[in-house]
């Protein structure tokens, strides 16, 4: 499967991206690309620049120089909403849910179904339809939420995370990005998220997966890119590389050739 993936054109690509926060050079000439049907793990120590890269890719933050190519075209997403409209869904590290709303409202936040006719024009919501679609999608994705009409504050951290991940997976048509989606999760909920990652990959939609948990990364990734101090320092094949290699690259105790196998078509 990986071999065929390598021949496909990238969906989303970052070329020579630079980003500064004042004196901090958070991203240095970063190159990254994802192709349909692959799980790309992005790893690196705290402060390596993973979240910054994701924020740049999805229009949350502007960048200083470089290019983002989406579906073969240079783009600059003006906002996360813009990126979403292009089919890129993100689970942000600082969990972007509204805890006082229920799962249905969160999943449809910003894309509510309205009733038909005049009431719809006045903004009346079609709650029945949203509830039904949420039920169907969660069942399809095998995500378990105890009660989709309970406010998320009353759910466990893992269940809330499940809702955030399900929302991203449900709406994505091009790319799913998950920034540490399993950070706060127990064993069962982590298994659920990893299962979702592979489900999405198997539909052909690539996943960028950020995690500090090496066994999880090696379990789901087709390719691993290592960031260190804002630079891509290594690209590893999880089938041949070891966890020690990955940790070595992250901490800088091991040096790798800077393989950007995906550069050039």
């Amino acid at each position: 499967m990986v071999s065929t993936v390598a021949t496909r054109a990238p969906v989303l690509e970052a070329r020579n991206i630079n980003k500064h926060f004042g004196p901090v050079h958070a991203l240095k000439d970063v190159n990254l690309s994802v192709r349909p049907g692959e799980v790309l793990a992005l790893i690196g120590d705290n402060g390596a620049g993973k979240s910054t890269l994701i924020n740049v890719l999805t229009g949350v933050l502007p960048f200083d120089s470089g290019e983002i190519i989406f579906d073969g075209q240079p783009v600059r997403f003006s906002s996360p909403q813009d990126a979403r409209e292009h089919g890129i869904e993100t689970v942000y590290q600082d969990l972007a849910v509204a805890p006082h709303l229920d799962a249905v409202a969160n999943i449809f936040l910003g894309r509510e179904h309205r009733t038909g006719g005049l009431p719809g024009a006045l903004g009346f919501l079609d709650n029945d339809r949203m509830r039904k679609e949420t039920d169907e999608q969660l069942a399809r994705l095998r995500v378990r939420v105890p009660d989709i009409e309970r406010r998320l504050v009353t759910l466990s951290g893992g269940q809330r995370q499940g809702v955030a991940v399900a929302r991203a997976v449900m709406w994505a048509s091009k790319v799913v990005i998950m920034d540490e989606p399993t950070a706060a999760l127990g064993v069962a909920q982590t298994a659920m998220v990893l299962d979702l990652v592979t489900q999405v990959r198997d539909t052909g939609i690539p996943v960028i997966f950020i995690s500090h948990n090496m066994p999880n990364v090696f379990q789901v990734a087709d390719r691993i890119v290592v960031l260190r101090l804002g630079e891509v320092v290594a690209e590893l094949d999880p089938k041949t590389a070891s966890i020690e290699d990955a940790v070595g690259a992250m901490t800088g105790s091991m040096r790798f050739a800077r393989g950007e196998a995906n550069q050039g078509e």
Partner: protein, 359 residues
């Protein structure tokens, strides 16, 4: 995946709800319970004098302005903001309404002779001018809060001073004289429906229709429309709402605009009910509305609140005042009692939430 995660979910699902749902059901009705207790106490001492239909009718009329203000405040607080300016905006709106009404109702000579040949134009336009004044103040609050990224506490505190000062400048610091009496006699006191039951005269007047009509519409908007959904979402997590594509700033301008608009409506109601624009009263209405909203279960941290609760909360001060007057207790006790109720209601509410929420 399966059995492990199922067992986990089941454990979570089973363990909490029974107790939680009970708790939240009980405590969501704290405010009505408090109100009921107050009513029962007055009833016990004053009997049917207090609980007469006629007196309840008066309470409904007396609460009308606070209900309108509390509805606006509740929207603002659900977004995790605060609007301290509503009392002053009410005053400014009623002064503007009175001035416009007088100017359009006749020539200065006619007005001085207490004649209002054009009052059929002056009264409606004047009332509308009051409402628009409130809307403008509210929109300015919203724009300053969002554009300058300042806390709404500060912006509306500034507006409190500005609107009050402008109202005093316009009115010369006193009640506006020569308001056409028809605004009170033929509008505010007009009996749209009047019935006599057992010798008691009951009436439905425009302030009742306006106040409870607004509360009903507001409850529907908050519960059933996208506007309401975004109001909760922004108060719950503004950053998440922004990432979900909601135009948070625009929505906040609308919500502050609504609060100002309703303060303007309450200002117009002042003219209808009392026939004059007074700059002396209403300065503490902001705190009365915030207390009513919070007593009714709205969380100052945002994301939580209902119109029904807020309206019940708005009844409490009126009922207390009314009952104390009937019982010939010095009305100053009202402030003491409302303060105690506020603290008690918020304490009970917090306990409930701690039990319910797991964050």
């Amino acid at each position: 995946m399966s059995s492990a995660s199922e067992a986990y979910d089941e454990a979570v699902t089973e363990a909490l709800p029974a107790r939680q749902r009970m708790l939240s059901r009980v405590s969501q009705s704290f405010t009505p319970i408090i109100l009921l207790i107050i009513v029962l106490i007055f009833f016990a001492f004053e009997g049917t004098k207090f609980l007469s239909l006629r007196n309840l009718n008066e309470i409904a009329i007396d609460s009308s302005q606070l209900v309108v203000l509390t509805v606006g405040t509740t929207f603002v607080i659900i977004t995790a903001g605060i609007d301290l300016s509503i009392g002053s905006v009410l005053i400014l709106s009623s002064v503007v309404a009175a001035k416009v009404m007088i100017a359009l109702s006749g020539t200065p000579e006619q007005i001085a002779a207490f004649e209002f040949p054009n009052q059929h134009i002056g009264i409606p336009v004047g009332l509308a001018a009051g409402v628009v004044t409130g809307l403008i103040c509210g929109v300015i609050n919203g724009l300053l809060t969002t554009r300058l990224q300042m806390p709404s506490f500060i912006v509306t505190l500034g507006m409190l001073g500005i609107a009050l000062g402008l109202g005093q400048l316009l009115s010369g610091g006193t009640s506006v004289p020569n308001v056409p009496p028809a605004v009170q006699v033929d509008v505010g006191l007009k009996e749209l429906v009047a019935v006599d039951i057992a010798g008691q005269h009951l009436r439905i007047t425009p302030p009742i229709v306006i106040a409870y009509g607004i509360a009903l519409i507001a409850a529907i908007v908050l519960n059933r429309t996208r506007f309401g959904r975004y109001t909760y979402a922004i108060g719950s997590n503004a950053a998440a709402s922004r990432r979900a594509g909601i135009d948070v700033d625009l929505h906040l301008v609308k919500v502050f605009g609504l609060s100002g608009l309703l303060a303007g409506v309450a200002g117009a109601m002042d003219l209808m009910r009392f026939g004059t624009a007074s700059v002396g009263s209403h300065q503490a209405d902001n705190l009365a509305a915030i207390s009513a909203s919070v007593i009714g279960g709205t969380s100052l941290f945002g994301g939580i609140g209902t119109i029904g609760g807020a309206v019940v909360g708005a009844f409490i001060p009126t009922v207390l005042r009314n009952g104390l007057v009937i019982a010939s207790v010095p009305p100053f006790w009202q402030n003491v009692a409302i303060g105690a109720v506020l603290i008690l209601a918020v304490y009970l509410d917090q306990r409930r939430r701690k039990a319910e929420e797991r964050m």
